[in-house]
């Protein structure tokens, strides 16, 4: 990917979606929060979970499950990972917040090609084997672009009524 990923030292903010472990580049993370009251946005793409009030700023919440194809329903609790998107802050709705993982300079984690079975190849930039599980690193820009661009709106005009 970009030069940003290659920059050292590397660190990722990790989280869980269903049973999978995922991470985003720590440098892109603004903060990590407990869930906030969510307001649905009718007519928005399915990956847009809604809007939250982050200290007076309205932040869009993206459900990465829809983009990654994770079928499981979101956990009731979970958390929000607020990241810097290309168009301002966006929050990822995740099932559980994990640790910050740093790449050990002396012992680089083995990077695996490909991605998890149910994941989307483009959305995962790399997969790292950690003791006991795999960590999928998200290509944040791609995930967000796809979340906002999804052209399958939940909205459909009622039959018989004309569209403009």
């Amino acid at each position: 990917m970009s030069a940003r990923t290659a920059a050292s030292p590397q660190a990722w903010c990790t989280f869980r979606l269903a049973q999978g472990h995922y991470g985003v580049e720590l440098a892109r993370v603004q903060e990590v929060l407990r869930p906030l009251p969510l307001t649905r946005v009718p007519l928005a793409p399915p990956a847009i979970a809604g809007l939250v009030n982050l200290r007076g700023r309205i932040v869009t919440v993206v459900d990465p499950r829809v983009v990654l194809g994770v079928e499981a329903a979101p956990a009731a609790s979970g958390g929000l990972v607020v990241v810097h998107g290309t168009e301002g802050a966006v929050a990822l709705h995740v099932d559980a917040i994990g640790d910050v993982r740093r790449a050990d300079a002396t012992e680089p984690p083995p990077a695996l090609a490909g991605s998890t079975a149910d994941g989307d190849r483009d959305a995962i930039s790399r997969t790292i084997a950690l003791p006991g599980h795999l960590l999928s690193i998200l290509d944040l820009d791609r995930v967000l672009a796809r979340a906002f661009a999804a052209d399958v709106p939940t909205f459909r005009p009622p039959a018989g009524e004309p569209r403009s």
Binding site: P37, R40, P42, L51, G56, F155, E161
Partner: protein, 727 residues
């Protein structure tokens, strides 16, 4: 010349323009009263300040012009020269020249060079040569320096008041104010959350100190919010600072005499709105002078004084600012507007019979509706009132017009434009709606009326006549079919489509009549909650594009609510293309073929009296539960948007003033009316309908104090004026 620091130059330009506006006003004040020594001193200060700064910045040309004008004013001030028309003209010309030079400086970041041997040879600049002006000033008695002016010569020490004033002001970048405003918004939310937690907390009794602190925080926050909002505000007079001069020049050009009277100069508005007002006001004032006010002969024929009067009045009313620009001219001819509208195919024959005078006047805002040759009050220069309306609406305001045609023996003719603006752009009054469990905000500027659906109320029908088999919902509003947008269905929130037609549906539905781009349509929602001042927050533009939302706001409990965009909704519903056809498809609902002229609100008052009120006399109708009526000094009152609204009985009925009048649990329609800046309410039993009245009266009523008894829809109805009814 050395380049001047940009920020210093910008400050200088802003200051100088303000000074010139003041100079204009002072000179015009002197024209009215040549003995106004205060105006001489003020005008002198304005030019002196400009001259002083010029000399500091090395702007020699500007300094020389300003110095000449200043010296003339000094002579007037010292009594060496009597005030005269020539001096006034020379000084106004000086102000214009200074403006022209300033414009050149602004464009080129340096002084435009003239051709009199002082500066290097240069191509002729558009600002031209100053010599003629300087000669004119010299003839009047000014000291004109023929050489470049000596640096900061002996200046009379009259600047003390001005500089003292300057010390109390600080220039602040608007972005910084915006940042402060955002922070205050957060503080308000934090305060709200603290209050909610405190109310829930069981430790409350142990921490009475906390309660007191929270109360204080509440108080301080509210004041802080108000003060910060005020820092962004400017007196509305800033938008009309140039009008006195404009009136003077335009009237002179038309060979008329026009006086401008302003009231409410101190009314404050958000600075962005003050800016947005400037152009529309200029349009309207020019129009009024060129076409509204008659020439001297015409005024003499109408029995008016030769001098026309333009009245500009600003005042705050219920969270918005209203501006009225009234001329005492001949008024607009509805007949000619009608001819033009029909000729242009804007309205068909059937509908044309149904329009009230007021509705006809609305056509002057239609783009390209320039009928100057026929309609005297309109501009013929293509200065569109549609442009004025567009810029007012773009900042969430509205503009309307009413006009009284000049007739022999009838006083008070003229045209009045009424502009209504929100106090700020960041905070706007909105109607809070509930749909499928979610809260939405709808800017009030888009809402025309609010109706209740269901038994005995507005009914939504399917299958519009001629709708080619579509089951598109419509409803009938006073005989006119309007398309209906069911918010739930369009937002995909109850896809199964809750039966909106079913009588006795569990959730009472409301129908809002909205306007967008001059088209009206209905919006059916679950529930209308309240009006609230909301803080508009941006949302991700990718959610706005093609969506139905203008932004979002934060509710008192910290949750986010989306702001509906009435225009986008109309587009989504395909109303934009079919709206006009729908309007003309309206069948005649009533038997009366009378030409509807004056819209009347028909109500049933207590004791079964059927009465009608001119719709224009009422601001709006609000329904209150019986429990909402309280007693204050033995009079019933209700609270409306934080204001105590005294409620009077209709038609002098004394029974409502008695205690226990509101014991029966029900809802009461209250007609709200603004009187002298204060609002009063009139409670009635029932609002029956809105009916167009052709002006035919049957008989003067005898007993009830109503001036006229008329027949409306085959019922005898008393036509009352509210001034009489509220007494």
């Amino acid at each position: 010349m050395e380049p001047i620091d940009d920020s210093i130059l910008d400050d200088f330009l802003v200051d100088s323009h303000e000074g010139l506006d003041r100079l204009d006003q002072d000179l015009l004040a002197l024209e009215r009263d040549p003995a106004a020594s205060e105006a001489v001193a003020s005008a002198f200060r304005a030019l002196h300040t400009i001259k002083g700064t010029c000399s500091f910045l090395g702007l020699r040309r500007l300094e020389r012009v300003a110095h000449a004008g200043e010296s003339l004013l000094a002579a007037v001030r010292a009594g060496r020269r009597p005030w005269s028309r020539e001096i006034a003209d020379a000084l106004l010309a000086t102000a214009d020249r200074v403006r022209a030079i300033l414009a050149g400086i602004e464009a080129r970041r340096r002084e435009p060079i003239r051709q009199d041997g002082c500066g290097p040879e240069a191509p002729l600049e558009p600002e031209g040569d100053d010599r003629a002006l300087l000669d004119e000033l010299a003839v009047c008695g000014a000291t004109v320096t023929r050489a470049p002016a000596p640096a900061a010569d002996a200046a009379p020490a009259t600047t003390a008041p001005a500089s003292a004033l300057q010390q109390r002001h600080v220039r602040v970048d608007v972005r910084r104010l915006d940042a402060v405003m955002d922070l205050v918004g957060e503080l308000v939310l934090a305060r709200n959350q603290l209050q909610v937690s405190l109310a829930r907390s069981e430790a409350r009794s142990y921490a009475s100190g906390l309660d007191a602190a929270a109360l204080r925080l509440d108080h301080v926050t509210a004041r802080l919010q108000d003060e910060v909002m005020r820092t962004r505000m400017q007196p509305v007079s800033a938008s009309w600072a140039r009008l006195p001069r404009l009136v003077h020049d335009a009237a002179t050009a038309c060979g008329k005499r026009v006086r401008l009277e302003t009231r409410g100069d101190g009314t404050e508005l958000d600075r962005a709105l003050v800016e947005a007002l400037k152009d529309p006001l200029t349009h309207l004032v020019r129009n009024a002078i060129a076409h509204g006010i008659e020439d001297a002969a015409g005024r003499a024929r109408a029995g008016k004084s030769e001098e026309g009067v333009l009245r500009l009045h600003a005042y705050e009313e219920g969270g918005s600012v209203r501006l009225e620009l009234a001329d005492d001219g001949a008024g607009m001819s509805v007949e000619r507007i009608r001819e033009q509208a029909i000729a242009r195919g804007l309205v068909d024959g059937e509908r044309s019979r149904r329009l009230t005078d007021e509705e006809w006047l609305e056509f002057v805002f239609v783009p390209g509706f320039s009928t100057a040759s026929q309609v005297t009050s309109l501009s013929g220069r293509g200065v569109g009132l549609d442009a004025a309306r567009a810029s007012i609406e773009s900042v969430g305001g509205t503009i309307g017009v009413r006009s009284v045609r000049s007739e022999p023996g009838r006083a008070g003719s003229g045209t009045t434009f009424t502009i209504r603006l929100p106090l700020t752009l960041a905070i706007l009054p909105a109607l809070m709606l509930e749909q499928s469990g979610e809260t939405f905000a709808l800017p009030q500027a888009n809402v025309l009326e609010m109706l209740r659906c269901g038994e005995g109320h507005a009914r939504i029908e399917r299958g519009a006549p001629g709708g080619a088999g579509s089951d598109r919902p419509v409803f009938r509003l006073r005989g006119e079919l309007l398309p209906v947008l069911e918010l739930g269905r369009w937002l995909g929130m109850d896809a199964d489509g809750a039966p909106i037609l079913a009588d006795g549906s569990p959730s009472p539905r409301h129908l809002l009549v909205l306007t967008s781009d001059g088209r009206r349509y209905g919006l059916a929602v679950d529930r209308v909650c309240d009006t609230e001042d909301i803080v508009v927050k941006p949302i991700d533009h990718r959610l706005r594009e093609g969506g139905a939302f203008a932004g979002a706001t934060v509710l008192g409990d910290g949750r986010v609510a989306l702001i509906l965009d009435a225009h986008a909704l109309a587009l989504r519903a395909g109303l934009a293309s079919t709206g006009v056809a729908q309007r003309t498809a309206a069948p005649q609902a009533r038997g009366d073929e009378a030409i509807a002229r004056v819209p009347l609100l028909v109500v049933r008052a207590r004791r079964g009296i059927r009465a009608a009120v001119r719709l224009e006399e009422i601001d709006r109708v609000v329904e209150f539960e019986s429990a909402a009526f309280e007693r204050l000094d033995d009079h019933p009152v209700v609270r409306l948007e934080g204001e105590v609204l005294p409620v009077a009985a209709f038609a002098g009925d004394p029974s409502l003033a008695a205690p226990g009048a509101f014991a029966e649990p029900r809802t009461w329609p209250v007609l709200v009316r603004a009187e002298a800046g204060r609002r009063v309410g009139l409670v009635v039993d029932e609002v029956v309908d809105i009916v167009g009245w052709d002006g035919a009266a049957t008989t003067p009523a005898a007993a009830t104090g109503a001036p006229l008894r008329i027949v409306l829809d085959d019922h005898v109805t008393d036509l009352v004026t509210l001034e009489g009814a509220a007494a």
